[in-house]
């Protein structure tokens, strides 16, 4: 199961890279989701149109996946409500404070050989590995 999905992981990664390159070549923008969404939430809103269009593209993509391959979309999460809210707050605030998330720092930042992004990726991978381990083993959470 895990290994049979690896070619799709690589293909999906290439498609993500192509999407980010398209945005760079045409709009001159970094395809960082937290930066795009966070910028759209800022007041006064500046260049809102392309940001909303990108997010709309993500939502439409989700709708397409729901039709073609509904098992790829989660119906629910195993964690409790307070844990989900805490995780969402940390992801949103942390990505903005750190200047990016998995897409901005991971895909585009590493792809531009940015030392800042490499630092961010190593940092968030480390705390994510530790958190996932603690939540699933030490604290006996939802595994």
């Amino acid at each position: 199961m895990a290994t049979s999905s690896l070619p799709f992981a690589l293909l999906g990664g290439l498609l993500i890279g192509a999407a980010a390159l398209l945005l760079l070549a045409a709009a001159g923008r970094i395809a960082g989701i937290s930066g795009i969404v966070g910028g759209a939430l800022r007041r006064p809103a500046g260049d809102l149109a392309w940001r909303l269009a990108f997010v709309l593209g993500l939502l439409v993509g989700g709708a397409v996946l729901r039709v073609l391959s509904p098992e790829t979309l989660p119906k629910s999460l195993p964690q409790s409500g307070p844990v989900i809210v805490l995780a969402g707050l940390l992801v949103g605030f942390g990505a903005r404070l750190g200047g990016g998330c998995t897409s901005g720092h991971g895909v585009c930042g590493l792809g531009r050989r940015s030392l800042r992004s490499l630092t961010a990726v190593v940092t968030f991978m480390t705390t994510a590995f530790a958190t996932a381990y603690l939540a699933r083993h030490a604290l006996g959470g939802s595994a």
């Binding site: 709009a27 997010v55 897409s103």
Partner: protein, 138 residues
């Protein structure tokens, strides 16, 4: 026109995430949990995406301007500061708790689950909180 390109880019991004299985939080957690049945998929996704970007972005950035915009808007900061490290560390804790980062969370909304709505609402609140407490960075 730029709006159409952004829409297509977002659509491609979402389909890439779905194809790679990255819209499923259990696959993310299976990568992050080294002590469990480890799933290396996320590493391949990141390698494929950043590898392609690494190959093609220099030629794009060499041009005077993007095809549809007056200038490239790419981060110019080189300085590694506390904000970067603390922010990334907090992000990683949230990511490791549930297995969702911003892209897959937004794509996952189409699944229609209330938990996803809750996560995205909290995520947007976290981003708004940042916008409130911090002056916009250049």
């Amino acid at each position: 026109m730029i709006v159409l390109v952004a829409l297509i880019s977002g659509l491609m991004f979402a389909l890439g995430l779905g194809l790679a299985g990255m819209t499923r939080p259990e696959k993310i957690l299976a990568f992050l949990d080294l002590a469990g049945a480890w799933d290396p998929a996320l590493m391949l996704v990141l390698a494929g995406a950043s590898g392609l970007y690494l190959l093609a972005s220099p030629a794009i950035l060499q041009r005077d301007r993007p095809l549809l915009a007056p200038r490239f808007t790419v981060p110019a900061r080189r300085h590694i500061d506390t904000r970067l490290v603390v922010g990334a560390a907090l992000f990683g804790v949230g990511w490791g708790l549930v297995g969702l980062c911003p892209g897959p969370a937004l794509v996952g909304l189409a699944g229609g689950g209330g938990d996803l709505v809750l996560f995205v609402a909290a995520m947007l609140a976290g981003m708004s909180l940042f916008n409130r407490v911090e002056a916009p960075s250049p």
